[in-house]
């Protein structure tokens, strides 16, 4: 393996280039074109958006490589794809397909209830979901080059995205004011290495970019999570489950770039058509929630 190619700086580098952008879930090449036309920085190629995975039930797996390949050929922006948690063989296939990022994702049915993929074994970078700082740090230890707060995918309800993002950022803040003695206990609490805990106490941020996912459906949702500290957003079902995907996609791109400009967000929020209907996460039982997948 060419170590320079798989170097964390190079892996993290692509995530740096995606900052301030919107990564959109797409299920075919037509949707991929619409996403690119609307200004997406990348697309996530998958067979079913999370809302449909939720509705259909059953086992959700890596998408058909043929579908991913068609999407790769139809757009010039980066193409990401999802592998099941712990399913390193799916990840190997996605690497052979030269996808630009692999999402080891709780949206798919986990393949291993104890272990995540050893992401250091790959040259293609990985993004992983996290609901709190400890989970984020465990994924980073395993080689993730980007963290996305999980939220609750396929609901169109932003409440869990907010909860997870706030939890990660406030736990980071707590580290920066902790005494050095306290950091050892924090490492234990977060089930994370003391080296990473010390580094974050010093820098006040994750060593990899922090993006947000799971429930973003409107321009204001995007602005909200960006103001809460996300560096880019993933929009799954929120775009192609809405009345006018193209217009909504463009509006969310504008709102993410200008997240601190309410006047502009007001302008782009008008006449977007029906948003995705969505499900309130309060109505979901614990077993129906995807965010609990990942260890």
């Amino acid at each position: 393996m060419n170590m320079d190619r798989g170097n964390l700086t190079v892996k993290r580098g692509l995530a740096e280039m995606l900052k301030g952008g919107v990564i959109m879930d797409v299920v075919n090449k037509d949707q991929a074109k619409i996403a690119e036309d609307a200004g997406a920085v990348a697309v996530m190629a998958l067979e079913r958006v999370p809302a449909d995975i939720r509705r259909d039930g059953g086992v959700a797996r890596m998408s058909d490589p043929q579908l991913i390949e068609e999407i790769q050929q139809s757009v010039s922006i980066p193409v990401m794809a999802k592998a099941r948690i712990g399913h390193f063989a799916e990840a190997q296939v996605l690497q052979s397909l030269k996808v630009d990022y692999i999402d080891e994702s709780e949206v798919l049915t986990p393949a291993d209830f104890d272990n995540h993929i050893d992401k250091w074994q790959f040259e293609v970078p990985f993004v992983c979901g996290a609901t709190n700082l400890g989970e984020a740090l465990r994924r980073i230890s395993e080689g993730a080059a980007m963290i996305r707060s999980k939220g609750e995918a396929g609901t169109g309800d932003v409440v869990e995205a907010v909860r997870h993002l706030r939890s990660i950022t406030s736990e980071i803040k707590a580290l920066t004011i902790a005494d050095t003695e306290e950091l050892y206990r924090k490492a234990k609490e977060h089930s994370a290495s003391i080296e990473l805990i010390k580094e974050i106490a010093h820098t006040g941020q994750l060593p990899v970019p922090l993006f947000c996912a799971g429930g973003i459906a409107t321009p204001s949702d995007a602005s909200l999570v960006m103001q809460l500290g996300a560096q880019a957003v993933f929009v799954g079902s929120g775009i192609f489950k809405s009345g006018d995907p193209s217009k909504r996609a463009e509006a969310i791109v504008e709102a993410t770039a200008h997240f601190d400009d309410p006047e502009l967000i007001l302008k782009v929020s008008k006449n977007l058509g029906e948003p995705m209907v969505g499900i309130s996460t309060r109505d979901l039982s614990e077993t129906e929630k995807l965010q609990g997948r990942g260890w």
Binding site: D4, R5, K19, E36, A40, S76, P78, Q95, V253
Partner: protein, 196 residues
């Protein structure tokens, strides 16, 4: 001097960090009015298609075109920034815009997908060597009149850093390097920006 960094999308913070290391103030630019106080601008790495849309909708595109014509702005484009400065984009989208500011033709993502992204040794002005990252990097396919090559790949002598007038463009990310390389490329840009 305050250097503006176009902050519509991309790796803005990495450029900010380099400038702060050089003791230079920077300002994020994502609104038209913010351009008025700026005479030098960095266009960071990111997605050129996304930036191109946001440049139009924000009105910044028109203003930068005007400032380039007046020769009242120096611009440094890295990766996506280089694509936006080029006269010709071979495989861009139909609606993709560029500033037509450097007489080169560019092929997007021509160094390959992310799995091909890597560090490469670049020789600057024939003497110093740096090892910056090339991330889904664009290639300079052809070079026209008035363009000066400042950096080439050590292995193949392929041009990867070019300048014309007050413009500077790199295929690579000097803001994301193995070592800081003394921030040599940003220093070159500051020299260009300070020339009267």
């Amino acid at each position: 001097m305050t250097v503006g960094i176009l902050s519509l999308q991309g790796d803005v913070e990495l450029h900010q960090f380099v400038l702060s290391q050089l003791g230079i103030k920077s300002a994020k630019i994502n609104k038209l009015t913010q351009l008025d106080d700026i005479s030098s601008l960095i266009i960071p790495g990111g997605e050129s298609t996304t930036m191109s849309k946001l440049l139009i909708s924000s009105g910044i595109y028109e203003q930068i075109v005007k400032r380039i014509k007046e020769k009242s702005i120096a611009i440094f484009g890295t990766c996506a920034g280089m694509i936006l400065l080029a006269n010709k984009i071979y495989d861009g989208r139909e609606d993709q815009i560029s500033f037509n500011a450097i007489n080169v033709g560019i092929k997007r993502n021509a160094f390959g997908r992310q799995i091909e992204s890597t560090f490469k040794t670049v020789v600057i002005r024939g003497d110093s060597e740096i090892e910056p990252s090339f991330i889904r990097a664009p290639r300079i396919a052809d070079i026209g009149d008035d363009v000066v090559v400042l950096g080439t790949l050590k292995q193949t002598a392929e041009p990867v850093l070019v300048t014309q007038g007050k413009m500077l463009a790199s295929s690579f990310h000097p803001e994301l390097s193995k070592e800081s390389c003394d921030n040599i490329v940003h220093r070159i840009f500051l020299e260009i920006a300070e020339e009267k």
